[in-house]
Structure formats: structure tokens, C-alpha cells
């Protein structure tokens, strides 16, 4: 009996997270060095910036390599990186960058404009198999170079001399500078790649030009990086070492953080952690450049009718849904996330059951009569299931329509989406770059990422126009028009905007956001990148934290 009671007690502890009991813990012995331990998620597929995949890999590479510009971790904006200054031509199509002369690779070789040219040409060589190739399409001739219609030399990136670089764009993209802060645009060492080919990312060959350099990599365990003494801004880098733990299980990450075995949990808490985790003062959440939505298969009746799509969308109470989910997600009444650079949503969908019923009636399905049973397809996950159940219940209650839910494992789900083998499907999109363009592109008729099969000439024209315009005010107007049109036709149904939540120990300084007031003041990166260049640890505070805990 006693055993049962003990086991139950332990189990309760497990469920509630952990007791409030304060245990003093042994501080890890770092020999007086400043070491930051980061819980980083799954294994990175590649250490090559132009081939980066997924958030964990991006987190590591973003701190090891540097681009022409670097991320301002307080605002998510950009700061001079390898490029010290730059000029933009009047038509917004030609950028000239003047590179700093003290930027070096970790083996002491200088970083030059030729490295940049070689990097972007390599990224657009199909043999490189860059998973980010479409990001470079904004550069002149990039697409034709990838498709081998033009030679690599015709790519709009030229080195005038060792330290002057010119980039020509296809369109006057006002967001080009923020694009340059992304890892796929970071510079790779041409001299090492020429020598070792695709094996240049092996630990014994790889060199980097960022604040840190690789020192250890153990598959599915950890990647360690140490301060790069050749880095031009090394005086501003305080951390001696960062350990990125490869831990793909969210519950394990949470336990590691609670046991003080790590200082910073980047993202991806399991839904079971909520709402308890929100009481923890080390938890902080900020808006994120991403949207969770459902797509409609617009090829088939009844969802080929915009009125039906709209009716379903208007019948869902997103506020209640986000409360049920409980992590602080923001209900989405439009497509482009709030705070996206150079954008302010104008149109907005209004949840209205009466209007939804009316729309359904106009479509010929008054009170849900003769309406076929639809299915919501989602990839297997408790959270997706919760959302799907909620929405199907709500639509049934409000419109009398039967919607079944169906899960499929990831690749099957992707396959069915791509081939239009679904009625309604769950989808999510994290903006590649901080501009409305990355979201508007989702619905363009020729977009590879448009699985709704919705093709609208007016929308495509508006979208093409946003890419041609350089005047921000005019561009904003056209983008708003495009979004309004999409909301009116509703090929996709916005549900909520993602948040990025992190856990960070109080002794880690210069991490943004690290508390609520940072979020209120807008001190966070909307793209939730873990930029650790300026981070440091208050060693006194850390000691106190471990002794008093």
C-alpha cells in the first residue's frame, strides 16, 4: 500500500511539473569561463548556411557565421556585419556594399567580396541542393541560373574589388536588407570549399567568420562552439563557449531546464507544459512571425464556392479556441501577422454566425441541408487534434454541417495536401523574412506552396504589382488590397498567430526578450532567432542562483 502511495505521490509531482522545494545544486564547473547552455531541439541536418534547415540548425549557424548584415537581437532589425556601410540606388534595385577590412575567417584568411559572390553562386547551383534556393530569387537572374538557363557569371552579384560588392535585384524589394540577416545569406569560406568540396562542413575542415567557431559536435547529443578570436567584433563577445544540446523531446528539455542543467530553452515547449509553465518567472512569450491556418481544397464542391469557405470561417470563435490552447496564441482575423515590417492589416474577417448561415443559404445549403460530410486533415499531434475537434464541433453547432477529423503522419499528410487529396487541411507558415511578401506569396497562383489550388487573376496581378513597387506607401496599399481579396475569397482560413516562448535563467543577460517588460517595449525578434553574440552571464548572480536557488 505504501508503495502505491509513494508511486502516486511521485506521479503527481511529475504531472505538476516539480515541487516548489528549493534544493541547492552544484554549479557546473566551467573553470571560471562563461559558458552558456542552450536547449536547442532536433539534430541540425547540415552545417552549411546555404543549406540550413529547421530552427535548431539556424540557431547554431546564426551564431557561427556572419552575413553582410547581422541581426540586432534587441529589435530583430539589422546592424552592419561583414559590410560596414552600403548605398542603395535610386530605383532601389542596386545595392553596393563596402566590406570591413578586418573581417576574417577563423583560420585567419580575410573575408572578401569574392567569398560573397562564390557563396551566392554556389547556393544557386542545383548540385548544392540548397533547401533555401527560392529565397535568392530576388537577386537578378537567380532563378534562371538555378534552372541553368543562364550562366552563374550572369547572377546579379559582382565583386568590384576585394571589399566592394554590388548586388542587383529583380525587383526593388524594400526588405532586401532584412533578408541579408538570414542564415542562408551568410557568407561561406570559398578557400575551404574549393579544397574540400561538400565535405567542408566536417569538423576538422570547417572555418567560420562569426562570433563563435565550432569545437565539438556529437550526433544527437550536442554541438559546442567557442569564441572566435579572429572575429572582428571579438571585444564585444563575452561568452567563452556555447553548448547547444540536441534534445528533440520537449518534456526532456523542460526537465533539463528545471534541473538547472541548461540556461536557455530556445523554443518548442510541449503543450502539456501549459498552463503551469506560465507561472514560472523564467518563462517569456513574444509574438512570432507565423500563422496557423486551414486550407480549403478549392477544386471540389462544395468548397469551390467562396461563400461556403467563408461561412465555415465566420462560424469559428477564435478567441475561445486560443484560450483553450492556453499558450498565449493570438486569434487571427487576417493573414499577415501583426508587427510584420512595413505592414498594417486593413481588412479583417468578422466572426458572425448569422452572416455565416446566410452565406451558406446563398450557396444553396440552407441550415446545412444536403451538405456533404467534410474532413479536416491534420498531421498527427495532440494540439492539431484539439484545434480540429474544436472547429468541427463549432461548425456543427453553428451551421449544422458535419465535419470529421482525420490524422495522418507527416509525410502522408504532406503528400495528400500536395495532390489535393483532402477537403480542409491544417497548415502553418513561419515567415521566411520579415515582410508581408512571404505570406502573400502563399496564395499566388504559381506558388509552389499554394496547396489550395486557388488561382485568382486579380490577386496574382496585385501580388505582382507589390513586387514591382518601390514606394513603401503605395506598396502597402496594394498589399492590403491583396490581403482583403484573399479574405473575401477565403481559400485559407486564418486561425491564430504563433507565439515564440522561451525559458531563460535570470543570470543570463542581454537576451531579448527575457521578461514581460521586454515584450511590452517591443524588445524581441519577431523571427525568434537565438542571436547570442552580445549575451553574457552575470557570474555573481549565477553563483547566488545556485547556492540559494
Amino acid at each position: 500500500m505504501q508503495l502505491v502511495i509513494t508511486l502516486c505521490a511521485i506521479f503527481c509531482l511529475l504531472l505538476t511539473g516539480c515541487p516548489g522545494k528549493k534544493t541547492s545544486r552544484t554549479m557546473p564547473d566551467d573553470e571560471g569561463k562563461m559558458v552558456l547552455r542552450v536547449l536547442n531541439g532536433a539534430e541540425a541536418a547540415s552545417l552549411d548556411p546555404v543549406k540550413r534547415e529547421g530552427t535548431p540548425g539556424t540557431n547554431i549557424l546564426g551564431n557561427v557565421f556572419e552575413g553582410l548584415l547581422r541581426v540586432d537581437n534587441k529589435t530583430g532589425g539589422y546592424l552592419p556585419g561583414v559590410a560596414e556601410t552600403w548605398e542603395i540606388s535610386e530605383d532601389g534595385r542596386v545595392y553596393t556594399f563596402f566590406l570591413r577590412r578586418d573581417s576574417k575567417w577563423s583560420d585567419g584568411v580575410k573575408v572578401t567580396a569574392h567569398d560573397v559572390v562564390a557563396t551566392y553562386r554556389r547556393a544557386l547551383n542545383p548540385i548544392t541542393e540548397s533547401r533555401n534556393a527560392s529565397l535568392y530569387f530576388i537577386i537578378k537572374n537567380a532563378k534562371s541560373v538555378l534552372e541553368k538557363e543562364k550562366k552563374p557569371e550572369e547572377l546579379g552579384v559582382y565583386a568590384a574589388d576585394d571589399y566592394t560588392l554590388k548586388i542587383e535585384l529583380e525587383n526593388p524589394a524594400g526588405y532586401f536588407l532584412s533578408l541579408l540577416t538570414l542564415v542562408p545569406f551568410y557568407i561561406t569560406p570559398n578557400h575551404v570549399i574549393e579544397e574540400h568540396g561538400s565535405n567542408w562542413t566536417d569538423l576538422n575542415h570547417i572555418v567560420s567568420n562569426g562570433p563563435f567557431k565550432f569545437s565539438l559536435r556529437r550526433r544527437n547529443d550536442r554541438t559546442e562552439v567557442v569564441k572566435n578570436e579572429q572575429y572582428w567584433g571579438k571585444d564585444e563577445v563575452k561568452l567563452d563557449k556555447i553548448i547547444f544540446f540536441t534534445t528533440d523531446n520537449g518534456n526532456t528539455r523542460l526537465r533539463l531546464f528545471k534541473a538547472c542543467e541548461a540556461d536557455f530553452h530556445v523554443s518548442g515547449l510541449e503543450s502539456s507544459a501549459y498552463p503551469n509553465i506560465k507561472k514560472n518567472p523564467e518563462w517569456v512569450a513574444a509574438p512570432r512571425l507565423g500563422i496557423y491556418y486551414y486550407i480549403f481544397n478549392t477544386k471540389e464542391a462544395p468548397l469551390d464556392n467562396p461563400k461556403v469557405r467563408k461561412a465555415i470561417s465566420l462560424a469559428v470563435d477564435r478567441k475561445v479556441l486560443t484560450q483553450v490552447l492556453g499558450a498565449g496564441q493570438v486569434p487571427a482575423y487576417y493573414i499577415i501577422p501583426p508587427r510584420t515590417n512595413n505592414y498594417q492589416a486593413d481588412a479583417k474577417l468578422e466572426e458572425n454566425i448569422e452572416k455565416a448561415k446566410l452565406l451558406l443559404k446563398e450557396a444553396g445549403y440552407g441550415e446545412g441541408k444536403d451538405f456533404p460530410t467534410l474532413t479536416i486533415l491534420y498531421n498527427t499531434s495532440d494540439d492539431h487534434r484539439k484545434v480540429a475537434l474544436f472547429i468541427s464541433d463549432m461548425v456543427k453547432k453553428n451551421l449544422g454541417i458535419n465535419i470529421k477529423i482525420e490524422n495522418a503522419e507527416w509525410k502522408t499528410y504532406l503528400d495528400r495536401r500536395k495532390h489535393g487529396n483532402y477537403h480542409i487541411a491544417r497548415a502553418g507558415w513561419i515567415g521566411d523574412y520579415n515582410d508581408a511578401d512571404t505570406f502573400l506569396e502563399l496564395l499566388a497562383g504559381d506558388s509552389e506552396n499554394n496547396d489550395t489550388f486557388w488561382k485568382n487573376a486579380a490577386y496574382d496581378e496585385l501580388f505582382a504589382e507589390t513586387r514591382r513597387l518601390s514606394d513603401p506607401a503605395k506598396r502597402l496599399k496594394v498589399m492590403q488590397k491583396a490581403e482583403a481579396l484573399a479574405l473575401d475569397e477565403m481559400p485559407l482560413m486564418p486561425i491564430y498567430f504563433y507565439i515564440a516562448d522561451t525559458l531563460v535563467k535570470p543570470y543570463v543577460k542581454n537576451i531579448y526578450p527575457s521578461n514581460k517588460s521586454d515584450v511590452e517595449q517591443g524588445f524581441y525578434d519577431l523571427q525568434a532567432r537565438a542571436t547570442l553574440r552580445d549575451v553574457y552571464i552575470d557570474m555573481e548572480e549565477k553563483k547566488k542562483y545556485f547556492t540559494n536557488d
Partner: protein
């Protein structure tokens, strides 16, 4: 015996070929492919990737390519991890799983048989009931429950042991304990049953009537006979335990090979799936052979020579 072993080893080849063939086609018939992702890749790059992995050819041709490749011991490049071969990945991760699995199996055999034999020798007593209650608990509490409980209690609450990750000896304690619990329980039940059967046999009665002490009877006569069912269980079980478990690896953040079985299939990393299937089939066949050889060593009545 030598002839028997050679024959069995040669027998592995056709079995392996059948397994490879079935797996090769099964995994390719699953929807989706290694390069499908939420964000679509440009066609030019997909084409290039498919060419690199011969996926632009027909399935039978791909199959022949694969056979040609593995006949040289090369399991091919991983389709998910760039510039990494499946051999590299298994080479890095298998030793970790091997160490954890081996320790867990050793503990399971040692504690399991001890507990089982004690229970059998005290048949229907309180000791017997206690041992078997623990065994049932061990079997019915799954790893995914036991692991987090141990991690929270000893790691987060008491702070005695590391919660997860890989490093010194202290990192072995919790995963090995979690992994071995189930096997301890099973081994305990099997050894109790087999010991009960053996001690009621005539030759034990003879030994007893000769006036031998209980200890001598058990250690000299009974154990040998009681070990046979344990060996036949532990053979294949060892193969599975040393190839790792995704549950244990995820709970304790262990860089083992177990996760690649599951993740390989989820990611449709074809070469990885094939590599792990080949690894586990080889191990199962080898351990079965070892179990058969062990039979013969333990029980002289069993003869591995061919019957004529």
C-alpha cells in the same frame, strides 16, 4: 559443431536478402518521399536530388543499384543528413546503444534470475509473492512512464543524477535502470517458472535422496536446466535491447541508434531505414545462433550435429 555454425552463418544471407527486398519495396510504397517538405523545393533541385539517389530510375533498377551498393558493405548516404553516410551515423550512434543495452541486459539477467530463482525456491511464500508482485509491476509500467518518474525524482527533485544528456558514468544510471526494469521482470518470471519445473524433476529428487545440501542441488544441478528458457528469451531480446529504444533515447537525450529506426521511417530516409533494418536483422540472427550454441554448452543433452 563447426559445420553447424558455418551452415547457420551461410543461412543468414538468403534470409537477409528476403528482408532487404521486402523492406526496400515497402518503404518506397509509403506515401511521400525523402524530399517532400512543407516548403516545396524548386523542381531543379528535386530533380538533382533524385538523380543523385537514382530515384529518377524505375524501382527495379533502384533496387539493383541498392544491392550493388550494399554488397560492398556500403549502406549509402543518408537522404536527410547532408554529407553523412548511413555507415557513419550507425558507427557514431550504435556504440552508445550497445553500451546501454549491454549493461541493461546484464543487470536484467543477473537480478532477474536471482529474483526468479529465490521466488521459485520459496514457492508460495511471502517472498515469492513479493518478488512476483514486483515483476508484474515491472512488466506493466511502461518505459515512457517510469523514465520521466525517475528523471523527475532523482534528477529534478533530489538533484542526485543528471536528468538527461550524455557524458560521464552518472549519465548511465537512469536510462539503464529504466531500460532494465522490464527485462528484469520478464527474466524473473521465466526463471521462476523454469526453476519450479526443474526442481520437481526426477534427477533433482535423486540428488536430494543422495543427501546433497539444498545449495549444492540448486547450484550444481538445477540452475543448468533452469537456464535454458532464459537463454532462448535473452537471445533475441539482447538484439533488440542493444539496438536501442527511441523512448529511452528521447527521455534521457541519449545519442543512440534507436531513434533512427523511427525517425528514418518518418523522414522517409530510405537508406537509413534499410540500414537500421539490416542492422537489427543481422543482430537478431546472430544472437539466435549464439543462443543455440549456448544451449549446447549448458545442456549436454542438446546436440547441434545434424541428425543422420
Amino acid at each position: 559443431m563447426f559445420r553447424y555454425i558455418v551452415k547457420r552463418v551461410l543461412g543468414i544471407i538468403p534470409v537477409l536478402l528476403v528482408i532487404i527486398t521486402i523492406t526496400f519495396f515497402l518503404v518506397r510504397f509509403a506515401p511521400g518521399g525523402p524530399f517532400s517538405s512543407e516548403k516545396q523545393l524548386p523542381d531543379e533541385i528535386i530533380k538533382n536530388l533524385e538523380k543523385k539517389f537514382h530515384m529518377d530510375q524505375s524501382l527495379p533498377v533502384q533496387y539493383l543499384y541498392y544491392l550493388a551498393m550494399i554488397s560492398g558493405g556500403d549502406l549509402g548516404p543518408s537522404m536527410k543528413y547532408h554529407n553523412k553516410s548511413v555507415n557513419d551515423i550507425i558507427g557514431e550512434t550504435f556504440p552508445v546503444s550497445l553500451r546501454i543495452g549491454f549493461l541493461a541486459m546484464l543487470i536484467a539477467i543477473f537480478i532477474g534470475t536471482t529474483v526468479g530463482f529465490i521466488a521459485a525456491l520459496h514457492h508460495n511464500s511471502t517472498i515469492d509473492y513479493m518478488c512476483m508482485s514486483f515483476a508484474i509491476l515491472g512488466i506493466s509500467v511502461p518505459n515512457m512512464v517510469l523514465g520521466p518518474i525517475l528523471a523527475v525524482f532523482f534528477g529534478v527533485y533530489l538533484g542526485w543524477l543528471p536528468v538527461a544528456n550524455w557524458g560521464g558514468y552518472s549519465h548511465y544510471v537512469l536510462p539503464v535502470t529504466t531500460l532494465s526494469c522490464y527485462y528484469i521482470a520478464i527474466v524473473a518470471r521465466i526463471s521462476r517458472g523454469s526453476m519450479l519445473e526443474v526442481i520437481n524433476q526426477d534427477y533433482i529428487k535423486t540428488a536430494r535422496s543422495k543427501g546433497l545440501s539444498n545449495w549444492t542441488i540448486v547450484t550444481r544441478h538445477a540452475i543448468k536446466g533452469a537456464l535454458l528458457p532464459i537463454i532462448s528469451y535473452c537471445g533475441p531480446a539482447s538484439a533488440f535491447i542493444i539496438t536501442g529504444s527511441i523512448v529511452i533515447e528521447q527521455i534521457f537525450g541519449i545519442p543512440g541508434v534507436g531513434r533512427h529506426f523511427i525517425m528514418g521511417a518518418i523522414d522517409r530516409d530510405y537508406t537509413m531505414v534499410m540500414g537500421t533494418v539490416i542492422l537489427v536483422s543481422l543482430l537478431v540472427m546472430c544472437f539466435n545462433l549464439l543462443a543455440d550454441i549456448a544451449y549446447c554448452l549448458v545442456d549436454p543433452r542438446i546436440n547441434l550435429h545434424e541428425e543422420k
